[in-house]
């Protein structure tokens, strides 16, 4: 698949999360895929009741290639006013995975909301979540090929046969190309020609 995408500047081999970890108020951890499941379970038991978000990043030239980013929020299921909730703790977990079809354990049984988020990462990045019970494409059509948010996926999509042009767009079809003013395309072209040749416009 030829890529029409502008190559990322400064090389994707740099690892932005490791460069400036201090500008965020969340605690940031990097976890190996093998240890991910245990870490998520421990955090859930620790009161991180909300899996705020789950997203993917493709660092094309880096090893490991992908990052899956979990944003967790410490929140208990008690009815509480704004002052009781206060400023809940946030944790961001980055998990690097590699390969053309990377695998990660699902978090769906810990937080139900992981369902669609994992389907989206599978759809757009091609990362498979083992144990997910309904891992289908979610944004793209079910028979789509490729994973659009990967960096080697062209921004205009795969090369496809162009749809036939509608009749009114065909320049040879003068009848269909008659402009609303009633003047035909030929008449307009004649007029342009006369002007170009130095004659007077009628």
């Amino acid at each position: 698949m030829p890529s029409t995408q502008t190559p990322p500047i400064a090389g994707a081999a740099v690892d932005p999360p490791s460069l400036r970890p201090s500008i965020d108020d969340a605690a940031i951890e990097r976890v190996e895929p093998s240890a991910l499941r245990a870490r998520l379970e421990a955090l859930k038991a620790d009161g991180y009741g909300m899996l705020l978000d789950l997203g993917g990043v493709d660092y094309l030239a880096r090893k490991p290639r992908f990052d899956v980013v979990y944003h967790l929020l410490k929140m208990s299921a008690q009815r509480a006013g704004v002052s009781e909730v206060g400023t809940p703790a946030r944790v961001r977990i980055l998990c690097g995975v590699d390969g053309d079809e990377p695998h990660l354990p699902t978090a769906m049984d810990l937080w139900k909301s992981a369902d669609w988020a994992e389907r989206e990462i599978f759809d757009l990045f091609g990362i498979v979540f083992d144990g997910h019970d309904n891992l289908r494409r979610i944004q793209m059509p079910y028979d789509w090929e490729g994973h659009p948010l990967r960096k080697d996926y062209p921004v205009r999509g795969p090369a496809r046969e162009r749809a036939p042009r509608p009749a009114f767009a065909n320049k040879n079809n003068v009848q269909a190309g008659t402009p609303p003013s009633g003047r035909t395309l030929e008449a307009l072209q004649d007029q342009v020609k006369r002007v170009r040749e130095g004659g007077q416009s009628s």
């Binding site: 995408q5 502008t6 990322p8 500047i9 400064a10 090389g11 994707a12 740099v14 932005p16 999360p17 460069l19 400036r20 500008i23 965020d24 108020d25 969340a26 009741g49 909300m50 899996l51 705020l52 978000d53 990043v57 493709d58 980013v69 944003h71 929140m75 299921a77 008690q78 009815r79 509480a80 006013g81 704004v82 009781e84 909730v85 206060g86 400023t87 809940p88 946030r90 961001r92 079809e101 937080w111 139900k112 909301s113 369902d115 669609w116 498979v128 309904n134 891992l135 289908r136 494409r137 979610i138 944004q139 793209m140 059509p141 079910y142 028979d143 659009p148 948010l149 996926y153 921004v155």
Partner: protein, 406 residues
């Protein structure tokens, strides 16, 4: 990966007993956009519901990766088209944090940002209330709501130049200062609002038909709300007072005096009341912001690395012309790093996880779409309810499909 290529068929929505599979949408009028819900029903009762999204997928995140940092804002604003300022503000805040210029944003710009965040919240809730009313057969509410929203769109147009996607909030401040005559229009709106709000409450709040349809319908317990990652008014209708404006204040929200309405019933009526109360609180913030607008001042950061010089100087100075050309043709560069920034959009916690590799284009922008997670909770809310109540549940969650599908 065989299962990935399967369309959703009745076999996948498991069929047991007398259940029948019904596809609701994607052109159903109550879905407020393009949503398909595969329903397994027994009689009129929903046994299982599986929303199918993606009909409005436009690849905004992918498109944004191929635009300059400032251009990306134009597509990002199109996600939640009912509250454009919340998208652009959240993105601008994230990029400003990566640039390290958060503290340099002029005070007047911060006030106007808050002003438009709250105006857009009122406008968005107006659309929600109007369409929610239509779903339940209360047509006239719609006209009251859209009249009020029209005033806000006028203000948006006056300030940013466009009704729907003004692209007014920019990285570093705002596109321009408020035009002459804006404050008079704003004052007229502030004066008109309380009466309109009384009308809206009078039309629905004590209406027995409306109460019959919403009280006790679609009860979302606090446990389920956390499990399904519901945020915003829907979460606060379930008794948890989590509001990003209070929990992680941004752009000066901690200096405004406002309450966050919380109700504990967790049903569609509670979510309705929370949103109505929220509109009144937004009005309070708008009033406070209005009082701070009397002092003039700059609305764009004076940082030549990020912003183009003022238009007036371009005709007079060669340096300004070159500078302007560089900013427009090349954009600005953002130091490498990653950041998660969230704001309280009318629908809940809207977040952007932005990664920069040091270039003039964003490397990755991941959205945390509040609508998508709120909509997902339909899977937990719908079973056991009537199909007619599913319409109420959907309306009370207030999803916007530009944001669900992006």
């Amino acid at each position: 990966m065989t299962m990935s290529t399967q369309p959703l068929t009745p076999e996948i929505v498991s069929q047991e007993g007398n259940a029948m599979v019904l596809s609701m949408g994607p052109q159903h009028p109550s879905t407020h956009g393009v949503l398909q819900i595969m329903l397994e029903i027994e009689g009129e009762t929903v046994v299982k519901a599986e929303p199918e999204i993606g009909y409005l997928h436009t690849g905004i995140e992918k498109t944004a990766e191929n635009l300059f940092w400032s251009q990306a804002q134009t597509v990002i604003e199109r996600m939640d088209y009912l509250a454009p300022e919340s998208n652009s503000l959240c993105y601008a805040l994230a990029v400003e944090r990566l640039l390290g210029i958060t503290d340099g944003i002029p005070e007047r710009a911060r006030v106007i940002r808050v002003l438009f965040m709250e105006l857009t919240r009122i406008a968005s809730h107006c659309v929600w209330l109007g369409t929610h009313g239509i779903d339940l057969g209360a047509i006239s509410v719609f006209f009251y709501c859209f009249d009020l929203r029209e005033n806000i769109l006028d203000l948006q147009e006056a300030a940013g130049g466009a009704r729907m996607h003004p692209n007014y909030v920019r990285v570093g401040g705002l596109n321009g200062d408020l035009p002459n005559g804006f404050l008079a229009k704003l004052d007229a709106f502030i004066e008109k609002f309380p009466g309109r709000m009384r009308d809206l409450r009078g039309l629905l709040q004590a209406n027995p038909i409306f109460q019959d349809r919403t009280i006790g319908v679609g009860i979302l317990s606090p446990e389920a709300a956390l499990e399904w990652n519901v945020t915003g008014p829907s979460l606060r209708g379930s008794g948890i007072g989590y509001d990003v404006r209070k929990a992680f204040p941004y752009t000066g929200y901690d200096s405004y005096d406002f309450d966050v309405p919380v109700r504990s019933e967790g049903d569609a009526y509670a979510r309705f009341l929370v949103r109505l109360d929220e509109m009144e609180q937004s009005h309070r913030i708008v009033e406070q912001a209005r009082r701070r607008l009397d002092t003039p001042g700059p609305v764009l950061i004076d940082d030549p690395k990020v912003t183009a010089p003022p238009k007036e100087t371009i005709a007079l100075s060669m340096e300004a012309l070159i500078h302007h050309f560089k900013i427009v043709s090349e954009g600005f560069r953002v130091p490498p790093g990653d950041v998660y920034q969230s704001v309280e959009s009318p629908r809940g916690e809207l977040g952007y996880y932005v990664v920069s590799t040091g270039g003039n284009r964003p490397y990755r922008i991941r959205t945390r779409p509040p609508s998508m997670y709120n909509l997902q909770s339909v899977k937990g809310l719908a079973p056991g309810n009537l199909i007619a109540d599913l319409v109420v549940i959907l309306g009370s969650l207030d999803p916007v499909f530009g944001e669900v599908d992006r």
